[in-house]
Assembly symmetry: C2
Homo-oligomer: 464 residues x 2
């Protein structure tokens, strides 16, 4: 049995690790487009902040660690086409030489690429890394940006986008001494949260000197002498800002051509359609990671690329490709980000997402201390609960508060509750831990759900 | 409707709050034995460490806050007997004057008292607070100990017991400059954890100068001049240690006489038997808190007094007493304690508990970082998973690691999983949050469960 996995990031490597773990007799080859298999893309901002050094530390596992598991790695190798009927993969090495690899089972984890959609002047025919216009999704992007920072010593940066990577890079570049302007299309940063919670993140950025400009659509990037000029529209008027460096981090688009050329279909977000077992519909061809649609426990099929999801999908694909019967249990969109001294997290749905999925949501925000107020260092958490007023089901939670307030693991409590379809009210049944320095007899998690239930009761009474 | 709750601690106050929340027309009277309703008993060690000051800060709510909810408080009032048929409670005020209160529904939350079982020389006919021999379960105990510390300036202390309160007080008295000896009957401190994890707590105590002596049964306390002499048996030999102060914190026994005199039955741990709705079996008489048996989701009926449980039981009793139909969902014994810079937590069962409850457990310990190792400050967590080898069910988890490593909320993830009867393997399906400064793509919680599954697989293969 020869299993071939395409992709050196979370999905491909998880596939290979799982297959080798379950059956050490399986031959596994991983085709990796660059020289950096199993690098932690999520860690790149901390390389730029110089909290992580050298860059080699970003590897989840070294090349040697990976080969010690018995997998073969083909680095600097592009997969160019799949012969589904012949069970052969065509590859091209760094010298441009094409060859084929026969496979019994193939798992495609080609991931996604940075989107620059709608911004003129960037890309192969426009400005690029040497001009100071960067994207950030690979180690290659990382080296290019580091080279520019080191060589040109830019003093000012514009970050287009205020999602997870954008916020982390705003922090990193600020820490490195750059004056950062952050441009966000929507009304508030971190649009994965409701604006009332996103505004807390906005305040944290401002407090650290980041100039946040929301409600701004960026249309183009141009160069004038040594300066980069970002143009767009804000409040119906033209908007112009200049800087020494521009970083565009506005999301990703799935890399699908390898699979679609072989006959696979695309669905949500333009990603490749798979079933819950990671089957593409093409015989002996599976897929996982940022290139495929996401099975969401509350939304059904959507596109929500996340590293945690890629790990799980790769693990399922690796198990099934060698004859197993695993099933991806589905995403809840659980996410967390640290921005300076603040942590923001979410899981499940927000109002508008819930409405479009057919739920009847109510959301309410409570402020609860992370631990007993009498014990030093208690910090308020803002917790926004979304529940369904028709059946009381918990639909989602958003949390923002100080670093050190155990927010990352509090969102996990909600994630497990969502996984099991709990009602908001039944959250009070959970036997959560308590000691005054670290919690309360009713944890902040439950203070928030009890507050939601009271809000629902008062609304119901008001209507009666 | 007149609801009377007996007890000013978690159970009684939760009863009263819940009843008033659900129906503000209900008259609620709370009979409180001392002058300190709704104090956080769990916070007392932090008063002694001087992290909490003044002592009034330990109130969850002030007297005024409580009365603002509409409940009536009868302070310094002992409930002495219940006339079940007549629905009357006899009480005695601070002046010794007896009177009666008529009730429609009665909730008894008389709690528990410190145990000194098996130790001679302590108690009404022996040594007490004025002699430097203390227990610690009420504000009265707190004032007595503070008076002794302040007045006598003891330099050395012996703490008998190394459970939650014992460990917290070892820290508190050490912080105050006393040289502390901690005596523990069992083979390791914190006997609610397996010894291999308890030993990490032991090391932390030693590192901070606490002289920990395990395997020591204390039989008696005597006085010789100004010194207190603790005697007992260790390794089959006589054991003697002297100090200026002795604190006995070896657990509690339920206060049941009020209810048993009225005809209630006792069960596990000598506590009063109630059903899942907090009914005592006596008409219109309910009970909650440390005086009653504990419905445990994995063990059935046991006795496991915890503040978090008392809050939940009181809430159920308060709702049902005014005509509701709530049910206590059951305890999982979730607990956490901070000891100097270490945090230890557990939920569910350990091997021997699981065996005696009819399960077929396997336990295994994994070491996993709290967040990505490449990001500064990563700390190893020791996580011990107990699962059932016959059906793969998760049975329990124990965690020990550094403060700041989000252990308190990681144990909650296991608690929610246990609540829903998850298998160890299915824990990998959970969509938990990840960002490099706060977690890993597979959270430490899942690293540990995956390790358990591998251990089970290798044992199964070895047997085959």
């Amino acid at each position: 049995m020869h299993l071939v996995a395409i992709g050196g990031s979370d999905a491909g490597i998880s596939t290979a690790l799982r297959a080798r773990e379950l059956d050490p007799s399986v031959d596994v080859t991983v085709v990796v487009a660059d020289s950096y298999p199993n690098f932690s893309i999520c860690g790149i901002p901390y390389y730029f902040s110089r909290e992580v050094s050298p860059w080699q530390s970003l590897a989840h596992r070294t090349h040697a660690d990976l080969e010690a598991t018995g997998m073969q790695l083909r680095l600097d190798t592009l997969a160019t086409s799949i012969d589904v009927a012949g069970q052969q993969l065509t590859i091209r090495d760094a010298d441009g030489v094409e060859s084929t690899i026969a496979y019994d089972e193939l798992v495609v984890g080609t991931g996604a690429s940075p989107s620059t959609a709608g911004i003129a002047g960037i890309g192969p025919d426009g400005l690029g890394p040497d001009d100071g216009v960067h994207v950030l999704h690979s180690m290659g992007d990382t080296f290019a940006l580091e080279r520019y920072l080191d060589g040109r010593q830019p003093e000012t940066a514009i970050i287009v986008g205020a999602g997870y990577v954008g916020l982390e890079m705003a922090e990193a570049l600020t820490v490195r001494g750059l004056k950062v302007t952050q441009l966000q299309r929507g009304p508030e940063v971190l649009s994965t949260l409701d604006p009332e919670l996103g505004s807390l993140v906005h305040d944290e950025l401002s407090r650290h000197g980041v100039d946040v400009v929301t409600g701004t659509r960026v249309d183009g990037i141009a160069q004038d002498g040594g300066r980069l000029i970002v143009t767009g529209v804000r409040d119906g008027n033209g908007f112009t800002r200049t800087a020494d460096l521009v970083l565009v981090v506005v999301g990703v688009r799935p890399n699908t051509s390898l699979l679609t050329d072989a006959g696979a279909s695309t669905g949500a977000g333009g990603a490749v359609v798979v079933d819950g077992q990671m089957r593409t519909g093409l015989p002996h061809v599976w897929a996982a990671g940022d290139g495929i649609v996401t099975h969401h426990r509350l939304l059904g099929i959507t596109y929500l690329p996340l590293g945690t999801t890629s790990h799980k999908q790769g693990r399922v694909a690796g198990e099934n490709a060698i004859g197993g019967d695993a099933r991806f249990a589905g995403s809840l969109g659980t996410q967390v980000v640290k921005v300076f001294d603040l942590v923001a997290a979410r899981t499940g749905l927000r109002d508008h997402e819930a409405v479009s999925a057919g739920y009847t949501p109510l959301s309410g925000t409570a402020i609860a201390d992370d631990h007993k107020a009498y014990y030093p260092g208690a910090k308020p958490l803002s917790i926004r609960i979304t529940g369904d007023i028709s059946n009381g089901l918990l639909l989602g939670a958003q949390l923002v508060g100080a670093r050190g307030a155990e927010i990352a693991k509090r969102v996990d409590t909600y994630a497990v509750a969502l996984h099991h379809g709990m009602t908001v009210e039944s959250m009070s049944d959970l036997d959560l831990s308590y000691t005054p320095p670290l919690g309360s007899p009713w944890d902040a998690v439950q203070v928030a759900t009890q507050s939601w239930t009271r809000e629902l009761r008062s609304q119901t009474l008001a209507r009666a």
